[in-house]
Symmetry: C2
């Protein structure tokens, strides 16, 4: 391949994301200048936060501009280097976007070891989603052994790690996921104590049955009616780590949460958080997650889209919950 | 008076509280047995939390049962004692309910000094509402000098103290209150930097204008659309102390809060709290508030209903925001 394939933001979505919001282009492969490296991306990560970057409205990070390459986490190989910190053949993880090749001065890139865990894991269990789970659970949910921890999107890249770490902490881990197949995976493969299928249409009663001692900590990836339902079952002095609200991302107006009073009556601590705020904890989280994956104690699952041209459709599927585990795009 | 006047919960409100929910009875004055004291209540406090105790639904404290004396904070005088810790003539603050006389074994009662501050202040600025303000602001909002602190129900017993303490911390204090008269009082008498009249119908724009640097801490007494509006203006890493949601208490179904995403995007910490959970801080708060009131640095205002028979109407007025400052009932 002599060209650099790229996916650009063509226009901003109004409501649901469509493939027409993206444009796929071929450009010349860039050249590494002084102090720079050229990277060939092997894997692209697709994550719900990207929906926020497609919008013009204020979020915690700048929007992608129209005509810019879509932002995204990547793992790749250095194929040219004029930077003494990186050698040709090094593998690096970073955020080089929805494209095959990228030039970088090395800022924000970290070398990774493809012999410790598979390269793609550095975008999932041993990457940003894993660190999100680790920080949100251990810092913000702060569960004590014997407590009940609930996580939504439990079969997803973040939720799967949350529940497994909660089990290691000696907690009862209860997932919420969409469909029988995902719920069975969460219990049978990941080892959660229970998983409630929100698509079964009986979330409150099913969750109540799965949490006979109430809910002490909630890791929120979904928002909307799921959050409202969980709030009804929170115990006194429980904690909510607010990580994502994917249920709202495509709605023209957000769902109205009616159970705020439960946060008052039960003296709940709710903490919104973004993994990148905790650079102090990130390296420790990644190191621990790497060991746990390498030793087989921490499991994960991937949905792989083949080739960059399939990225828009795969991203739309992710927002609709059609992925199963970490959504990746294989570029090589 | 040879009888003990009492206000009982006659039945539970459905929607708005009415006088028919109460029954006023005359009973014999009780007698202090061994280890007990007999107290003549001088002042009864009326507080929004009482609405929760009238309902059967789960809250942080047990409901009042039908036919029981309504719960409520009181300050009174010991008129008979068979308890060595209390002498006739001692003044005490406690929760002896909507009645003229009560017998107690002394648990939960504290002696107060009527020469330091007026007796009624022990039910307001130097009592539970004051401690609520102190703990919610200093522990949960944790404002730094230069930050903007917003408090709803700003002319009320809690809100008035929150804003004045925020000013002492070097913050910009902005109140939300209902009506021009209350807003003028909050600024002119209490010394807040600004106060927004939510009844003017332009809360978002008016609040935005009053908080040019956004909102760093929010002390919530009201809930509902006020909360939702404030959430739109929260700064990154801001704190919300969730103390009360009086706007919801009379509604059959709670208001749905749509701006939860602001808590995520801005990495907000929201903490529901009840003053009674922090017995560790309560004495320190009361001691500081007593000094501040005695020295004139902390101001407060009272609305006084005359006589126990007026308590139900005064309580209904409190829920509708018709009080101005701390709502009391004068019993002697």
């Amino acid at each position: 391949m002599s060209k650099n394939l790229q996916v650009l933001l063509a226009n901003r979505p109004t409501g649901e994301v469509t493939e027409a919001n993206f444009e796929i282009v071929e450009r010349d492969i860039p050249t590494a200048g002084p102090g720079q490296i050229l990277v060939r991306n092997h894997w692209l990560s697709l994550d719900p936060y990207m929906r926020g970057r497609m919008a013009a409205s204020k979020s915690y990070a700048a929007s992608v501009e129209i005509g810019e390459v879509m932002v995204g986490g990547t793992v790749g190989e250095v194929i040219a280097s004029q930077n003494p910190k990186f050698a040709v053949g090094d593998f690096i993880v970073g955020s080089l976007g929805w494209q095959h090749y990228a030039v970088s001065n090395g800022d924000g890139l970290a070398k990774v070891d493809p012999k410790l865990v598979p390269l793609s894991a550095y975008l999932g269990a041993v990457g940003m989603p894993g660190a999100t789970a680790w920080i949100g659970l251990l810092e913000h949910c702060a569960p004590k052994c014997g407590e009940t921890v609930v996580v939504s999107a439990a079969s997803g890249a973040v939720g799967a790690i949350v529940g497994q770490l909660a089990k290691m902490q000696g907690c009862r881990a209860v997932g919420i996921a969409g469909g029988k197949e995902k719920c069975a995976y969460v219990v049978d493969e990941l080892g959660f104590d229970a998983c409630v299928d929100y698509k079964a249409g009986n979330l409150y009663q099913d969750l109540k049955a799965a949490c006979p001692a109430g809910i002490d900590a909630y890791f929120e990836n979904v928002g909307g009616v799921t959050m409202d339902t969980v709030f009804r079952l929170l115990n006194p002095f429980s904690r909510v780590a607010l990580c994502g609200m994917i249920a709202d991302y495509n709605l023209p107006e957000a769902y109205g949460v009616r159970m705020m009073r439960s946060l008052l009556v039960n003296r709940v601590k709710l903490q919104g958080f973004i993994v990148f705020d905790r650079q102090d904890l990130y390296p420790r989280a990644i190191a621990q997650l790497g060991s746990l994956v390498a030793s087989g104690r921490l499991k994960y699952r991937e949905t792989v889209a083949d080739g960059l041209r399939s990225a828009p459709a795969a991203f739309i599927g992710l927002l609709a919950g059609r992925n199963f585990g970490k959504q990746l795009v294989k570029l090589v």
